[in-house]
Every structure is written in structure tokens, then in C-alpha cells.
């Protein structure tokens, strides 16, 4: 069962993303902040992580950077939810190692297709490795 981690301090966005992904057949783990996200990755080993960029405390950038530093999560596909097409956020996101981004306000349908695309890519990557 493919598990997806969703980290966002905004309950509405968390629930919306979870709703859409669950409807598409994925299992979803919801967390509220960066620290919980890191814990969830360490204990649960999800297949993909959707991180909100702006969370208080540890931001999505911080979490992504930390994930890339750790051996077990260095290849975890990460989608960043960023505020609009903001060059700085996008650049920063890619610099810390995010694989894709979705701008907020976001389209649940678009997010779903990006998740599916990334998983497909990651799937072939794992096969190749």
C-alpha cells in the first residue's frame, strides 16, 4: 500500500490533500508540523512526502534539507506546497532537494497528478537502482 505523508499546519489543507489522495487509493499520514514530519518519515517510511513550505518552527525547507541529510530519506520524493510561483521559494525548494512543487492556492486535482507522476518516476528509479 503506497503511503503518502502530508505535513501542513493548516488543517483545511491537510484534510483536503488527504481526502483527494485517499479517494485515489493511497494511504495518507497527516502531520501538523516539521518535527512530526521528520518523526513520521523515520518511523513510517512513506513513499512520498507532501510538505508545506510555510510552517512555523521547522519550515518545509528545513524538513526537506534535513531529510536529504539522512541516509534513509535521501531519496524520498518530496513535493513542496509553495505560495504562488515565487522564484525564491521554487529556487530554494530545489536547492534543498525538493522534486516538484505545487503552488498555493492549489488545485487538488493537479496535486494528485503530480503525486502520481512522481511516484511513477520514483518507481522506475528504484527499479533501475
Amino acid at each position: 500500500m503506497t503511503t503518502i505523508l502530508v505535513a501542513d499546519d493548516d488543517a483545511d489543507i491537510r484534510d483536503l490533500v488527504a481526502f483527494k489522495l485517499r479517494q485515489a487509493g493511497y494511504e495518507v499520514v497527516k502531520v501538523e508540523d516539521g518535527v512530526q514530519a521528520l518523526d513520521a518519515v523515520r518511523t513510517g517510511a512513506p513513499d512520498l512526502a507532501v510538505l508545506d513550505l510555510m510552517m512555523p518552527g521547522l519550515s518545509g525547507l528545513d524538513v526537506c534539507a534535513q531529510l536529504r541529510r539522512e541516509e534513509t530519506s535521501a531519496h524520498l520524493p518530496v513535493i513542496m506546497l509553495t505560495a504562488r510561483v515565487q522564484e525564491a521559494d521554487v529556487a530554494a525548494g530545489f536547492r534543498t532537494g525538493a522534486d516538484d512543487y505545487v503552488t498555493k492556492p492549489f488545485s487538488p486535482r493537479e496535486l494528485l497528478s503530480r503525486v502520481q507522476a512522481l511516484l511513477a518516476r520514483a518507481g522506475t528509479a528504484t527499479a533501475a537502482r
Binding site: D33, G34, V35, G57, S59, D62, Q86, A88, A92
Partner: protein
């Protein structure tokens, strides 16, 4: 008791006590009332901010094309323990365009080696413009080899924090400069929040100050404060409340009145051209961040320019406060001495209508209720109880003094707590609330008097213009350093540790002295 004291002496002492009650009474009523006014102003400001928060939209600052770029200046001396995490956290701040300029102030440890390793630094031949005069020789300039990371590391001969920051100002590329401490923790949106005034009012805002809070006891993960908690030691607890009051309430209050004269050096944002205009930070002055702010005020008013210095009231920067009496005492002495020096240097502005509110309200206030305060506080602290015990004053009079000094102060502390709870409620746990209430009591019976004594010593030192003897700085996680007495320019070996502006008794932050 009264029989023990000889007749004439007793009368004389009684007369002295009698005479001093009125000044002490009036002084403390004024002092505490002024704090109350500032707190009320800040509370109203906070309420207004909360009502309008739904459409404040800080996201706009992030994406607006006119958002000015910021150079973060980080002076670093022997910061090997946390420099990489610190720089990483600064680079990861959410902001459209910013760079981090680290000035390695002659570190003797692995500070530079760690940075070079983490970011793949290569030396670049880059001459630094001499916009601001500096004394320490610049040895080399380094940038990451990947060409993308906006980081610059300047290595120089050790010459102190102020001089290091001046070198940083020279090396900065962008129109705003932000002074940051190497060991301060910043919230991810800190830069966005503190730069907002520049975005909203670019023609007038010249400086913007963030709030500094005590991090002791809070939960820190990967360079960010994830949960604010009260620490366990009483000294640290009291300082948490002090900072809360001074920064959140004192600053916001003064800013509302257009009288803000102190921007924390642990997180302050200035226009680079204006800092260059006033000659940067003054290495000979102990209270260098207060000095910079007052210098800016003077320069702007001398020019007759319409300008603003503002404070943002959201918590943005966290720093560790001293947990032992020895270090705290040394810090407070230093701060007060710095205050005295700066006020002396700018005494021409006092009561001078040319300098508007700064000269007529803010600086005189600082002289009366900050500089001289410790003297009156020490007197007031002993006067009431002593009078009551020796019976040399009418009980009612003695009681009035005690009430004005202690009870009113306690009320003000509790009022500040109420405002914090209503407006910001950042400390979530019930346990912390109880501790806060306890602190409000303990603080006014003992702590305040103790800091008054230390500040009095600082004032005395300033008056005698003694060479400052730096105490040994020890803290959890700090290296202990033996700071050599000597010329004022000598504090080269002092790591940039202490928080910039410290709160005084209640509301007014004092200069951070390094």
C-alpha cells in the same frame, strides 16, 4: 528599637527619610505609570493587529517585485559549535532575495574550516569597498563554488564585533542590511515580517527592529524554535518575562509613539546607505546598537528628512539568556554603562526641539527613568521597609512608599502578562502560565532590586570612566573566556553572545553590549 538610636541622630535620620519619601513616591508612581501606558498602547496595537490579521497577507512581501533585497550580516568569533546550522537556517529563511555575509572575526577554532567544508568555499579575489571605516585587516573573501548559494565569508584579523559588522556592511551587496547574531535562532518567516515596514512605506522607513525573546527551556529542532516553553531556573524564568515585557510591549509602545530609539542588534534591519552615512557601528562605544539607532535619528533630523524607525511586534528572534547571577550581573553592568556612554555622547540632543520627539521625549525619558532609575530604585527598595522597621516614619507614609515601589510594579507585571496572553498567547501550557504569574511576584521582590544594584555599579563605572573590566562569560554551551581589561577597543576576544538590547526593570530595553 527607636531607643537604640541617639536623639539628634534619630531626628536627623527621620528628617532625611521624611524628605526623601516624596521624591521616591512621585518617581515610582511616574515610572510605573509610564510602563503601564506603554503596555496599554502595545496592547491596543496588538489588538488592532489581530483584528486586521486576516487580510494582512505577508505572502505579498514574499512575492512583490519591489521587495528590497537584504544582506544578513553575521559576525562570528569562535562559533564552531553552531555556525553551520546557523548559516543553514539563515539561508533557508523565506525571502525573495537575500544573502548571508559571515565575518570570521579572527576565530581560533574550526569556524572557518567547518563553513568551507559545508559550503564548498573557494577564495575569490574581491576587494571590499571602504564605505565604512574599519580597523581589522581583511584577510580573504570566500564564496561557495557552486555559484548559486548566496553566501559570502570574509576572514579578518580579530577586532571585535562592531568592527566585524562594519566589514560586513562593506561586503554587503544589497540595499538593506540586517545584523544577526551567530547564535540567535530565527523563525523561518522572520525576515519577511521584519522587512514588511520597508515594503509598505519604502520612502520613509529607515530601520526596523525585530523582537528578541529568551530561548532558554524552549524546544529547539534543527535550528528552529518549535515550542516556546518556560525554563526551569528562576533567574532564566524572570528574564523570559522581562524580555517579553521589554521587547514586545516596550518597543511596540515606543514605536507607536514614534519614539523608538533602540533596535536590537540581535535582529535589526537598516537601510545600508543610511548606516554608511552615519559611519557604521562605533567600535569604541559599548552600547553600539543604541548608538547606531540614535546616530540615525540625529542624522535624519539634521537633514530634516521625513523618516520612520519602527518595531514589529511578532516574535522573530530567540537568544539564550544568562542563567547564573555572575554572568547576568556582568551583562547588566555592561549594558548600563553603555547606556550612560551613549546618552552622554548625544547629550546635545536632550531637550533640543530640533530633534523632535527623540530629543524632547525619548532621550530625556531614558535619562530620567532608565539611567538614574537604579539609584532611586536602590533607595526606594530600602527606604520603605527600613522606615517601617525603625518606626522613624509614619506607618502610612512608609506604606505608601512600599506600595508605590513594590505593589504597583507587581500590578504592572501582571498587566503585561495579561496583554501577552490576550494578544499573543505564545506560551501554551498551563504550567507556564502559572510560572509566569509566580514570576510577576518574585521578580519585583528581589530580582529587580538586584539588577538595580548592578546597573548602579555600571553607572558608577561610567561616571568614573574606568577601564571596563569584563567579567568572565560562562553559559551553557558557551566557551568561558577570560576577557582582558584594557582599552575599550580590546574586547576583541568577546564572542558575540549576549543579547543585544536588554530589558531594564520593566519596559525599556537597554543596549546590548558586547
Amino acid at each position: 528599637m527607636t531607643a537604640l538610636v541617639g536623639g539628634d541622630v534619630r531626628d536627623a535620620v527621620a528628617m532625611v527619610l521624611e524628605l526623601s519619601t516624596w521624591p521616591v513616591l512621585v518617581y515610582f508612581l511616574l515610572l510605573n505609570s509610564s510602563y503601564l501606558v506603554l503596555i496599554v498602547l502595545a496592547g491596543r496595537d496588538g489588538a488592532r493587529g489581530r483584528r486586521r490579521a486576516p487580510f494582512a497577507d505577508h505572502e505579498e512581501t514574499l512575492s512583490a517585485p519591489l521587495t528590497p533585497a537584504v544582506s544578513l550580516l553575521v559576525p562570528a568569533h569562535d562559533e564552531a559549535a553552531g555556525i553551520v546550522a546557523s548559516v543553514g537556517a539563515l539561508l533557508a529563511l523565506r525571502y525573495p532575495r537575500h544573502e548571508v555575509v559571515v565575518v570570521d572575526d579572527g576565530s581560533t577554532d574550526a569556524t572557518f574550516a567547518l563553513l568551507a567544508d559545508a559550503y564548498g568555499l573557494v577564495e575569490v579575489t574581491r576587494r571590499l569597498p571602504a564605505d565604512v571605516p574599519t580597523t581589522g585587516t581583511v584577510l580573504s573573501v570566500h564564496e561557495p563554488a557552486d555559484g548559486r548559494t548566496p553566501l559570502v565569508v570574509v576572514r579578518k584579523v580579530n577586532s571585535g564585533r562592531s568592527d566585524a559588522l562594519n566589514v560586513g556592511i562593506n561586503a554587503a551587496r544589497h540595499e538593506l542590511v540586517c545584523f544577526v547574531d551567530a547564535d540567535s535562532l530565527l523563525d523561518p518567516d522572520a525576515l519577511t515580517v521584519v522587512a514588511r515596514p520597508f515594503v509598505d512605506d519604502p520612502a520613509r522607513v529607515v530601520a526596523s527592529g525585530g523582537v528578541v525573546r529568551a530561548v532558554n527551556g524552549s524546544r529547539v529542532v534543527a535550528g528552529r524554535v518549535v515550542e516556546a516553553r518556560m525554563p526551569s531556573g528562576w533567574l532564566a524564568r524572570i528574564q523570559v518575562m522581562e524580555y517579553l515585557r521589554a521587547f514586545l510591549l516596550g518597543r511596540a509602545g515606543w514605536s507607536r509613539l514614534g519614539c523608538l530609539v533602540l533596535i536590537s542588534g540581535a535582529f535589526g534591519l537598516y537601510r545600508r546607505d543610511i548606516v554608511v552615512q552615519v559611519g557604521g557601528l562605533d567600535p569604541t562605544c559599548i552600547g553600539e546598537d543604541l548608538e547606531l539607532c540614535v546616530a540615525v535619528h540625529r542624522a535624519m533630523r539634521d537633514e530634516g528628512r521625513d523618516y520612520r524607525v519602527v518595531a514589529v511586534s511578532e516574535p522573530v528572534s530567540w537568544t539564550e539568556v544568562p542563567a547564573t547571577r555572575a554572568v547576568l550581573g556582568s551583562q547588566r553592568r555592561r549594558w548600563h554603562r553603555g547606556l550612560a556612554e551613549v546618552l552622554w555622547r548625544y547629550r546635545g540632543m536632550l531637550g533640543n526641539p530640533r530633534y523632535g520627539r527623540i530629543g524632547l521625549v525619548a532621550l530625556p525619558y531614558y535619562v530620567l527613568f532608565e539611567l538614574i532609575a537604579p539609584l532611586l530604585e536602590v533607595v526606594g527598595a530600602v527606604l520603605g521597609p527600613m522606615a517601617l522597621v525603625t518606626g522613624l516614619l509614619e506607618p502610612a507614609r512608609a506604606l505608601a512608599v512600599i506600595l508605590a515601589v513594590y505593589a504597583y510594579a507587581m500590578f504592572v507585571s501582571v498587566a503585561a502578562l495579561a496583554v501577552e496572553e490576550l494578544s499573543f498567547h505564545r506560551y501554551g501550557r498551563w504550567r507556564d502560565l502559572v510560572v509566569s504569574v509566580g514570576v510577576s511576584f518574585v521578580e519585583n521582590v528581589g530580582y529587580r532590586q538586584l539588577t538595580a544594584w548592578w546597573r548602579l555599579q555600571g553607572l558608577w563605572a561610567a561616571l568614573r570612566r574606568r577601564e571596563h573590566v569584563w567579567g568572565v562569560m560562562t553559559r551553557q554551551g558557551f566557551d568561558s573566556e577570560d576577557l582582558t581589561p584594557g582599552s575599550v577597543a580590546a574586547p576583541a576576544s568577546v564572542a558575540s553572545r549576549a543579547p543585544v538590547a536588554a530589558p531594564s526593570a520593566v519596559a525599556e530595553p537597554q543596549p546590548a553590549l558586547r
